[in-house]
């Protein structure tokens, strides 16, 4: 069972769970080593991550830049708070659209689950203004059509 689950917890926490058929050590590495991150953390088909800075230590910097190959793109910066291989990562991140979104604290854990790994990621849901900014940006860069559908509903 590898299907993604996304639910809310309490007032405004999003909890994402996903199982992987690999040991926590490997799933952890895939989240922390730039050359591996650049292979999968890409969003929609056709996007790439030409820049990936990921300093895997407390206080270490994060900078991911995405591009769609047609001139559109955006980037994310952040800092690590806790780096506990291979089971737990806590980091702060913000998207630059190009104005920065408020900081979001994200805790990611990797638990041994039989022969695989159960990943759990907890993040704060952005406030309404931020959410709209992200959705609008997604629409402008062609990353997501659902906000366009939404706007026609309103």
């Amino acid at each position: 069972m590898t299907k993604l689950a996304l639910k809310t917890e309490g007032d405004c926490i999003i909890v994402v769970t996903r199982r992987f058929a690999a040991a926590p050590e490997d799933v952890y590495r895939a989240h922390m080593e730039p050359d591996i991150i650049q292979k999968w953390m890409l969003g929609p088909d056709g996007w790439t991550m030409p820049v990936c800075v990921n300093e895997a230590r407390p206080g270490g910097k994060i900078r991911y830049e995405w591009a769609d190959g047609k001139g559109a793109g955006f980037y994310l910066t952040g800092e690590f708070v806790a780096v506990e291989p291979p089971h737990r990562i806590v980091h702060i991140e913000r998207m630059h659209l190009p104005d920065p979104t408020p900081d979001n604290r994200i805790e990611t854990t990797f638990a041994k689950d039989g022969g695989g790994t159960l990943m759990t990621m907890r993040m704060t849901l952005p406030d309404e203004a931020t959410r709209e900014m992200i959705l609008k940006s997604g629409m402008e860069t062609g990353m997501e059509a659902s906000f366009a559908r939404l706007e026609t509903m309103l």
Binding site: L4, R131, G138
Partner: protein, 121 residues
Amino acid sequence: MQTLDAAFSALADPTRRAILARLALGEATVNELAEPFELTQPTVSRHLKVLEEAGLIIRRAEGTKRPSRLAPHAIATIDAYLDMLRKALAANYDRLDGVLAAMQAQKPPPETENPKGRKRK
């Protein structure tokens, strides 16, 4: 003006989710909501107040009845955001499955080395 925190807090309660599900079928008065849920009118009114303050429902004045209906904007914006997040993450993790499989394949063979020491592909 709703806040997201208020909306999620309102949605956390199963009775309020049931009331929203009923309102998805159409406008209803407090009486019409109280009966199927076997709730008292003050209880329903209290839930409706929370839902209204969270921006999830709209109430209009019709004499003393004040029927309630869903506020489409609030629910739709939450859905749109979660939908976008879900799609982006699903695409990423499906790719990560492939990356992890390739990492397993690259690992050195276990202790029981084959005699020619040939590397596994």
